[in-house]
């Protein structure tokens, strides 16, 4: 069995774990980050990609509102490559709670969240898709963030400072001696290899899986799991983030992302963070509700659905998951008799940096490291790891720099063989067993209208050509990839997407008989939830 030694072990490569890896590295503490699946495969990938202005929380959670406002400002300044500073609107339509509307500007002022009332004509001129039944509109500082690029950029800088990372490595058990975790026993879920990790300090940043990880050391964290589904539209419906001006509820936020928009979300209590997936019923519920705000949502074309599970730290009995604090939880397990164990979970994408800072402060106090946090002031360098998640990047680069022999393997999103090769070369040890899935996560492959029907097979062929897969493995990976994408497609199959699904099945089953042959390479519960790369992205 391999044994790895590290001063600090971080479990979970969502935004928080990635931020923590960077924060510690900048303080001179390189760490090892392990992840049971892939980067952002939990809630960090399965969300709107909304950079909250804080306005959504002014009525329910003033502290969260102020954190969002402050962190939003920091990210806009220090990580501009990950942010589209769109601005946002809060709008109410006939029938919405008038009292909530009336209270809103005052509540924003009380949280120092900038908010400006708009006359209805101005609002409709800004966003022509808004309903004719508009009754109120306010401008706020919401924006869009590419969570995948954000995490990869954090990881990339940390790696450059001596940190390291392993994907597909799941913590299985922990050995505790004299009030300390002395060993974390892990398994590579793709190879079955057992890996022993010895660390001075263990940081649990496993998001919705944090309670499970804590339990490996005998610690208990009360958590609730709230699944939210979202829909991606084929076209960008609005220039800005558009929020329904009402008590936070289902289907009340539309976030632009490159050439598409993301609509959601719902909130359904689930028993476990594993295996969630969007459903037909939820897709319909989102559209039925949101069209009051934007009637075009009834007619527009959707390209995909996805779901994520929010980790909510339970503070007692709660009926509505949205009433549980979205603020984060930082737990020093010294109280549980575990001196070298810290959990950081909950929170929001917008506050990931602050969460990392607070957890790193506590970690450094335990390690006796005096270096202060630098992420509040130092820019996050753009990395090459994250660059291919950006919508529109593929076509631009292909046009600018293609060589004669380069081929466009994904025509929907213009991803060339050269781009695939650079992802293969750069992901190196992070490839895991399924190279195709790793490529799908790091690029736009499989995210366009063909739903992977063409590009999946073409990239598979290329992986065979390069010797990255052999035997039946490539076909098994293709089937895994297809099933993974199917989770998102199956809830929105009417109109043109249904035609695409018809074609895809004609190719894969009608022509190639892929329903026979090897089963998918991993039965993946796998981030069931997460689309990982910010869609459309």
């Amino acid at each position: 069995m391999t044994t790895l030694h590290t001063r600090v072990l971080i479990i979970g490569a969502g935004a928080t774990g990635a931020g923590l890896l960077r924060d510690l590295a900048l303080r001179g503490v390189p760490a090892l980050l392990i992840e049971q699946r892939d980067v952002n495969s939990g809630a960090s990938g399965g969300n709107h990609g909304l950079l909250h202005s804080g306005a959504r929380y002014v009525a329910s959670d003033r502290e969260a509102a102020m954190e969002c406002r402050e962190e939003g400002d920091i990210l806009r300044r220090l990580a501009p490559q990950c942010i589209e500073d769109t601005g946002g609107l809060f709008v109410a339509v006939r029938g919405d709670d008038e009292r909530y509307v009336a209270d809103f500007p005052g509540l924003c002022a009380a949280s120092s969240v900038p908010c400006r009332g708009l006359d209805l004509g101005t609002a409709r001129a800004m966003e022509p898709s808004l309903s004719p039944d508009l009754v109120a509109a306010f401008a706020v500082q919401d924006g869009a963030v590419d969570p995948f690029m954000l995490s990869l950029d954090n990881i990339a800088q940390a790696l450059s400072l001596g940190s390291s990372m392993r994907r597909n490595l799941a913590a299985q058990s922990m050995e505790v001696e004299n009030g300390r975790i002395v060993r974390v026993l892990c398994r590579d879920i793709t190879t079955g290899e057992d890996v022993r990790i010895e660390a001075d300090l263990v940081l649990n940043a496993a998001g919705a899986w944090a309670a499970r990880v804590a339990s490996l050391a005998g610690a208990r964290i009360g958590m609730l799991f709230s699944m939210g589904s979202l829909l991606i539209t084929q076209d960008r419906i609005a220039t800005r983030v558009i929020n329904r001006l009402r008590k936070p509820s289902d289907a009340d936020i539309l976030v632009p992302g490159g050439t598409v928009s993301i609509l959601g979300t719902t909130s359904i209590r689930v028993a476990s963070p594993d295996g969630c997936r969007p459903s037909v019923a939820e897709a319909d519920r989102i559209i039925d509700d949101a069209r009051a705000m934007l009637p075009i949502l009834e007619r527009t074309r959707y390209i995909r659905a996805y779901a994520g599970v929010r980790p909510l730290v339970s503070l007692g009995p709660a009926g509505d998951d949205r009433a549980v604090s979205r603020g984060f939880a930082l737990v020093d397990h010294a109280a549980d008799g575990l001196e070298n164990f810290i959990t950081i979970t909950g929170g929001k994408l917008t506050t990931y940096r602050l969460m990392a800072e607070k957890a790193a402060d506590l970690a450094c106090a335990k390690l006796g490291v005096a270096a202060p946090c630098r992420t509040r002031t130092e820019p996050l360098p753009a990395s090459t790891l994250g660059q291919w998640t950006e919508p529109g990047k593929g076509p631009r680069t292909w046009v600018d720099s293609r060589t004669e022999d380069d081929l466009v393997l994904c025509e929907c999103e213009m991803v060339s063989r050269g781009v695939i090769d650079s992802i293969i070369d750069e992901s190196g040890a992070m490839r895991g067993r399924s190279m195709l899935k790793a490529i799908g996560m790091r690029s736009r492959v499989g995210k366009g209208p063909c739903q992977g029907g063409f590009c999946g097979q073409r990239v598979t062929g290329h992986l065979y050509d390069r010797g990255m897969v052999s035997g039946m493995q490539g076909l098994a990976e293709l089937k895994t990839f297809t099933e993974r994408r199917w989770r998102g497609f199956s809830p929105i199959l009417w109109g043109v997407p249904l035609m695409q699904a018809d074609l895809q099945e004609a190719l894969y089953c009608g022509s190639m008989d892929l329903e026979f042959g090897p089963p998918p390479s991993t039965r993946d519960d796998e981030g069931a939830c997460a689309p990982v790369a910010k869609e459309p992205a």
Partner: protein, 418 residues
């Protein structure tokens, strides 16, 4: 305005077959349709191979499979046609293709396992003669060289060789296609292979790689119109048996079929309106009046009878909104699962197939689609091909065969009523 005996709606396998059969029976025929399934065809003509799909039982004898199918699934459209009718229809169809430069072959009464571009093998019934060498090579596991090309995507010889671990003497090579660089398209390559000089150059590129190979396989690029002449010339140049494997669409297989019909149907007097979807239909004075195409190029066509062969969703014969599936031309009732949750299964490759694939038109025994009252919508409106309910051509491996057989049946029964 001319009044035709038959209007054929659709230009996939079923539409092409209906036009062919109707014209051969002396009927005047108009045909309209967009680009559809045939353009994405592999060129293989499946008859029937898998039943029950949930058990993934593969049949070598398609007629035995049909007997089991008719017994187990009496609503399947194959229940309305006899084995003799199917065999006669396939024979007539293949003969027509042969007359128009597209040679087809197969084993009477037996499915043949054939190689796909993914490296899998699939059972089919009739296949282009240019692919037959691949069948022999596969069956004998003979020493074979599989060639692919720099710049041609959608087929990887190495993938095929890796997947076919049961064929150790399958070797691969990637060569440059003579006279072309950058990204290559099968149709361009196929046209260029009409030039004998190009074949000689290609043979020269491949010859040093032959080794002990007895067969040489290529992506399907050997000409648009007289493929077997190109294959034979390549065999002569290489001194080896040569065969083609269809690439992922856009492959050459679809355009070859389309070209064969474009040549052969007008000779039989069929009036074809290509790239025009039928957008409206009315019935008055005992005649059908169709509008094909849209805007200033729309045409009006009158006919005494019609064959609806407009396909499924990809062919635009069926369309769906968030709530229901509808038939696109007449708004005929569509048999379908009750709610959208039941349209698709949780797993794409679920062997049972998706519920929506069984959706389609209910018909009487003469393949006349039923109206809302459960009776034939019109005495001279018939339906053929994938739009019919209670079949899953993709999983049962019966796409082209079902299209051709039901087109033949529809035309015959329509002819009796004209």
């Amino acid at each position: 305005m001319n009044t035709y005996d038959v209007m054929v709606i659709g230009s996939g396998f079923a539409g092409m077959a209906a036009s062919l059969f109707a014209a051969k029976r002396g009927l005047s025929v108009a045909q309209a349709g967009g680009t559809g399934g045939i353009d994405f065809s592999t060129g293989f003509i499946d008859l029937m191979a898998v039943h029950p799909v949930a058990g993934q039982r593969v049949w070598e004898d398609p007629y035995a499979a049909l007997a089991a199918l008719r017994r187990d699934l009496p609503l399947h459209p194959y229940a309305h046609v006899t084995d003799d009718e199917i065999a006669a229809a396939l024979g007539e169809f293949a003969a027509f293709l042969g007359d128009n430069g597209l040679c087809y072959t197969g084993r009477p009464g037996r499915n043949t396992l054939t190689l796909t571009s993914a490296g899998t093998v699939k059972p089919t019934y009739l296949l282009p003669c240019s692919a037959w060498g691949g069948v022999e090579a596969l069956e004998a596991k003979a020493p074979t060289l599989l060639v692919d090309f720099h710049g041609l995507k959608g087929i990887s010889a190495r993938q095929i060789a890796e997947v076919r671990a049961d064929w150790p003497e399958l070797r691969t090579a990637r060569v440059r296609f003579p006279g072309m660089g950058g990204e290559l398209y099968p149709e361009h390559m196929a046209w260029s292979m009409a030039d004998q000089a190009r074949r000689i150059e290609l043979a020269e590129a491949v010859r040093p790689l032959l080794g002990d190979a007895r067969f040489v396989g290529f992506p399907a690029i050997f000409g648009m119109t007289d493929t077997m002449a190109v294959v034979r010339h390549m065999e002569e140049l290489l001194g080896r048996r040569v065969f083609e494997i269809p690439t992922l669409p856009p492959s050459i297989a679809g355009p070859r079929l389309r070209a064969a019909f474009d040549r052969g149907l007008p000779v039989l007097g069929v009036r074809t309106y290509t790239q025009k979807l039928v957008s409206a239909a009315e019935v008055s004075d005992g005649l059908f009046h169709f509008t094909a195409g849209s805007g200033s190029t729309a045409v009006r066509i009158a006919a005494r009878g019609a064959v609806l062969a407009s396909g499924r969703f990809f062919g635009k014969g069926l369309k769906a909104d968030r709530h229901a599936v509808r038939e696109a031309v007449f708004d005929l009732p569509v048999s379908q699962p009750g709610k959208r949750e039941d349209w698709h299964r949780a797993e794409f490759f679920d062997p049972r197939g998706h519920g929506i694939n069984q959706a389609g038109l209910e018909t009487d025994a003469a393949l006349r689609p039923l109206g809302a009252d459960g009776r034939p919508f019109h005495p001279r409106l018939h339906a053929a091909g994938a739009i019919l309910a209670h079949q899953d051509w993709m999983r049962m491996k019966c796409g082209a065969g079902l299209a051709i057989a039901t087109a033949c049946k529809a035309v015959r029964d329509l002819n009796q009523n004209l």
